[in-house]
């Protein structure tokens, strides 16, 4: 789960990381008032979960009231790479001499957290990682002990940070690690961490991604997340229902259990000449109502011409799935889109007996089910 910049900055500031003076604004007038109060120059920054906001016109530096109004009018309400901008952060523009990158994340290959520092801040750090990996100093942390102060200093010196600010940067990194640890962070980053002419360090941006599986013990963060949710209507609906869902460009709707099997179903739709409309994983042990919700989701995508269910039960039981499909389809006088079902594994035979074959097409193998669903989609298109 990803927080907005203004939310992450609040968390950072509360923990003692220096951040520029800033105010959140939802209207042009609010933005102008905030700019007047903070004093020019200020940056007006769109609050959406999109990388490269600056290049896309979502961040503007302004020097006067007129410019502030103009920029706020441009940004509030704009469509930024598919995301509607409803909030801006109005922020003191920091006069800096250097920009650093500071981050903490989980190194999944190593199974340990890693702290990273680079003097190549202020740019796309993924590009730096790819083109010049040595420009990022890294220090792995033993999760049993947390980050020792010496480790923070070590990685800061290794990155080549100026001696005058090294201790302050190490202190920011220590705090950042502690936040990552306490708040169940996934990626936690400051890019850029600005260094001023007076050797002050200031977090000019803030990224905080939280492990969604740990939200049960992070109630304050979970609450912020509700506000941070965005995306198209269907993706929000998927969030509500708690599905792993990704919308794609095709017309064959796909519902299955288990990420690997659902991806395989997508691949097979493509292999047999169709185009997947979505990835929808109902997860393990789905009960009837969850199955009905999944069908509701896929039916609400107007691009979908045909739906294929691919369930291979382990912890999921075929009879539950069949009940869910019947339950969802019996509400309709006429089934909106043809549904093809393939059930295998735990209680699959019971499921096959329950399934109402007046409402769905039953196939017995994955290959047959996918081919049938692709044919249906082609018939609709034709």
């Amino acid at each position: 789960m990803r927080l907005h910049e203004y939310q992450a900055k609040q968390v950072f500031a509360d923990a003692g990381i220096p951040t520029p003076a800033s105010q959140l604004a939802e209207t042009v007038d609010e933005a102008v008032d905030a700019a007047e109060e903070i004093g020019y120059p200020v940056a007006i920054k769109a609050q959406v979960h999109v990388g490269g906001r600056g290049k896309a016109g979502g961040i503007k530096l302004v020097e006067s009231k007129e410019e502030a109004r103009e920029a706020a009018e441009d940004i509030i309400g704009m469509d930024l790479k598919g995301y509607h901008v409803s909030k801006v952060l109005v922020e003191e523009a920091v006069d800096f001499v250097n920009e650093l990158y500071v981050g903490v994340t989980m190194d999944r290959g190593e199974g340990r957290p890693v702290a990273m520092v680079s003097t190549k801040g202020g740019v796309n750090i993924e590009e730096v990682a790819e083109e010049d990996p040595d420009a990022i100093a890294r220090e792995h942390i033993d999760p049993a002990f947390g980050m020792h102060p010496f480790q923070a200093r070590k990685v800061v010196y290794e990155a080549g940070v100026d001696r005058e600010v090294a201790n302050d940067v190490a202190s920011v990194l220590t705090t950042l690690y502690q936040l990552w640890d306490d708040r169940d962070g996934a990626d936690t980053e400051i890019n850029p961490l600005m260094i001023t002419a007076d050797d002050e360090v200031i977090a000019a941006d803030a990224v905080m991604n939280i492990d969604g599986d740990a939200l049960f013990r992070q109630p304050e963060i979970a609450e912020m997340g509700e506000e941070a949710a965005e995306g198209d209507e269907l993706e929000q609906k998927a969030d509500e229902y708690g599905f792993d869902y990704v919308r794609l460009d095709g017309n064959v709707g796909i519902i299955g259990n288990g990420a690997g099997l659902v991806m395989t179903t997508l691949d097979l739709v493509d292999y047999y000449g169709g185009e997947p409309a979505n990835f929808l994983d109902v997860g393990g042990g789905a009960k009837a109502d969850r199955i009905a919700n999944a069908l509701d989701m896929v039916f609400s995508d107007e691009n979908v011409d045909s739906v294929v269910f691919n369930i291979f039960g382990g912890i999921t039981r075929g009879d539950e799935v069949a009940n869910g499909i019947n339950q969802a389809l019996e509400q309709f006088d006429e089934i909106p889109k043809p549904v093809t079902v393939r059930l295998a594994g735990t209680n699959a035979e019971e499921g096959m007996e329950i399934l109402n074959e007046d409402l769905v097409t039953v196939e017995h193998t994955l290959e047959d089910a996918v081919q049938r669903a692709v044919e249906y989609a082609k018939e609709v298109e034709a």
Partner: protein, 290 residues
């Protein structure tokens, strides 16, 4: 023969009094698994499906000689449950079924694991099965058959699919290991492949991977350098668009060339592993390898 699980495996089920714990204990017993105990704090002295329950895993290990633990504990407590199993004397295999354990909890479990000789399979996995002998986890027993093909997979349901394709054409399995799709897992592809390579009764191996991470690429190099047993492969997620997360935490394509289906398929093929376009084609490859 088999790996990880054999006739002497004596299982303690952690979380046996919960809905899933009870249901799958019954399923495991029905399959012939030697489930000797359950462990649930505060429930010591009870019985579930005829199996005695203890307050601690240590108690189950001591009283019933349990040597393997299966974790059916809810995510908030599952990390602790893994620690408990790793800490208990005599437990040399822990299979963690639970989905959704916080990653930081697993990082600490993984750290502890490095200090022990215990094998951890999972979490967020279907478990381990040696057909005809025992299953530890939630795998549907009826689709498996006894034989000489080992199987390792990051995805549970994909394991079932591929096994179904094998069984339907009369190819049995020695052991199937679902290693799980989480960012931090115990036994990884290489750990499982090492086991299969050392097992004289595993004559071929199927490795099922998916987009995200670089575990498959590393496993491919391991196969090329260290394995005589032939391996066939399958990679899910060829059609996944870059930058989108597809369920498993690891199943995200960075768009930079590594971690994509194509980079994994190429790595496998470069190391002599035929990769199927469909699960059915994987079974074709296995038939050729045997």
């Amino acid at each position: 023969m088999s790996v990880l699980v054999d006739e002497d495996t004596r299982v303690v089920v952690q979380g046996i009094t919960g809905g899933e714990g009870k249901f799958h204990t019954e399923q495991m017993l029905e399959y012939g698994t030697n489930v000797v105990a359950g462990a649930v704090p505060g429930r010591g002295g009870q019985e579930v499906a005829g199996v005695p329950v203890f307050d601690t895993v240590q108690g189950a290990a001591r009283e019933e000689d349990a040597n393997a633990a299966v974790v059916f504990v809810p995510p908030a407590f599952a990390g602790d449950a893994c620690f408990e199993a790793l800490d208990a004397d005599g437990i040399d295999l822990v299979v963690a079924i639970t989905e959704g354990i916080p990653t930081q909890d697993m990082a600490r479990v993984y750290r502890k694991l490095q200090e022990t000789d215990t094998h951890l399979v999972g979490p967020n996995c279907p478990g381990v099965i040696t057909p005809g002998v025992a299953k530890l986890g939630i795998l549907p027993g009826n689709i498996f058959s006894e034989g000489n093909v080992g199987l390792v997979s990051r995805s549970g349901t994909l394991t079932y699919q591929v096994v179904d394709n094998l069984t339907n054409r009369g190819i049995g399995q020695s052991t199937a290991i679902g290693i799980g799709g989480d960012p931090i897992i115990g036994t990884d592809f290489i750990g499982a492949l090492e086991q299969f390579e050392a097992d004289p009764d595993t004559h071929a191996v199927v490795m099922c991977g998916e987009i995200g991470g670089e575990d498959e690429e590393e496993a491919a190099r391991f196969i090329g350098e260290h394995m005589d047993t032939p391996v066939a492969g399958f990679i899910a997620g060829r059609t996944a668009p870059p930058g989108k997360r597809m369920g498993h935490a690891g199943a995200i394509v960075s768009g930079s060339g590594t971690g994509t289906a194509q980079s994994k398929i190429t790595a496998l093929e470069d190391n002599g592993v035929p990769v199927g376009d469909t699960p059915e084609e994987v079974a074709d490859h296995v038939e050729d390898l045997l």
